[in-house]
Symmetry: C2
Subunit: 256 residues, 2 copies
């Protein structure tokens, strides 16, 4: 299961993505431009932002009427009430509110600042106040992309939609898997022996999050414009488990 060598390869040259664009074709073109093709066990890691753009997950702030709750919360955290309304519409629960920051449980279950609603990196140039939501259903997106890659390349690849997120306790963002298909997001090591034959105590490994963190090392955050990476070196994954499995159940989470 554990690979001995991995390659993490950025696929540059991806053009600006617009609503309706075919992300699978974009990835295939980027692979070809890099002189690569898909191999068995490869994992394609795609930045959330281009998936959201392709899915047209834009909201025009001018079209948003903030609720009383959004207005009150906006005053508390010093944000645009319309943006807070959008954040609340993407949230199941607000965990923490502080100036400039809302930590929420996203409707999809993961804990994330500002519900992942993003106003940066949007190539606008037209003066509109447009924000970008997270993908509608990242696990579903990954499953569809996996099927599309099978169609294009004739083999089963892993697919992850990743995002860079802040964390409790640690400074600095790292990549995590918002969506995954074709690999086990968490790997159950229960019953595996350690070197001295004792059963392991650490029993669940966050594989999809680890791969997303690795891929994020080559994706960059700023103006590099490299939203797709290829992680190569896994054998084919025998089991699969989508990224919803990476969300710690509330009953097992001591920090909500």
């Amino acid at each position: 299961m554990t690979p001995k060598r991995l390659q993490i390869i950025a696929l540059p040259g991806v053009p600006e993505v617009a609503p309706g664009d075919d992300v699978a074709r974009i990835v295939a073109t980027a692979l070809a431009a890099e002189g690569e093709t898909l191999a068995s066990g490869d994992v394609i890691v795609i930045a959330q932002k281009i998936v959201s753009k392709a899915e047209g997950r834009y909201v025009e702030l001018d079209s948003v009427t903030p609720s009383a709750r959004a207005r009150a919360l906006a005053a508390e955290v010093d944000k645009d009430p319309r943006l807070v309304e959008v954040i609340l519409s993407e949230s199941a629960e607000v965990l923490r509110a502080r100036k400039g920051l809302l930590i929420v449980v996203h409707r999809l279950g993961f804990v994330v600042a500002n519900a992942g609603v993003d106003a940066s990196n949007l190539a606008l140039g037209d003066g509109r106040n447009r924000v970008l939501l997270l993908p509608e259903d990242p696990d579903g997106t990954c499953a569809r992309l996996r099927a599309a890659f099978k169609e294009i390349f004739g083999l089963e690849a892993g697919v992850i939609v990743c995002d860079s997120v802040g964390r409790a306790w640690r400074s600095g963002t790292v990549g995590i898997a918002l969506g995954a298909a074709g690999l086990p997001s968490v790997v159950d090591l229960r019953g595996r022996p350690d070197r001295s034959g004792r059963p392991l105590k650490v029993t669940w490994v966050g594989l999809a999050d680890g791969i997303a963190a690795a891929a994020s090392l080559v994706l960059g955050e700023a103006d590099e414009g490299t939203p797709v990476a290829l992680v190569r070196g896994y054998e084919a994954f025998a089991r699969t488990l989508n990224a919803a499995a990476s969300i710690r159940p509330k009953t097992q989470d001591l920090f909500r």
Copy 2:
């Protein structure tokens, strides 16, 4: 700064490590056995466990007399009172206590389950109840290893001591950097433009944690016995910042 290609290479064949062993020599031997040498920009990632073993960070539980506080807490979480005493001796603060689990602020500042005190993977075979603490000063260890590698190989490498940890909100462990030298643990992107020229909002990237997470993909958790990895593909790091910088200051942490 952002590399385009990274290689993550496990260095197998590391023997069981004993107190006093020279970790730099062990790594050099493992590199040579894999047909590799150190190159500029390389990062050597070393599992916490072999560093702790080399530093002799063992505690014999039979030698521990639990305090009243440890006995009370042990009853609450259903653990050996001697183990709880050891955990408390490594902790600045207990954040959460639940059956089988103590989440603490380690004396070094990071938040970790059971203060990182580990009873698994110890090749004992002699029936003694011995546990292993985290390294005394992981940043210091990394700085010393970096100096030793410079001596051996004549160049400046990055060094990370990593551990697999559980997280708030997410299921499954990922690797983080307990110690680092020769690279910036967190990277400040403030002022860098995004693709449309706006200043970036996500301004700090957890580089050392990302590299540790990537390396952990090839280290494995169980009986593979691969405690060292080479991460290759960075240019030399212009700035450095040790892993203490990866600890979110309590004043900026909404989840303690």
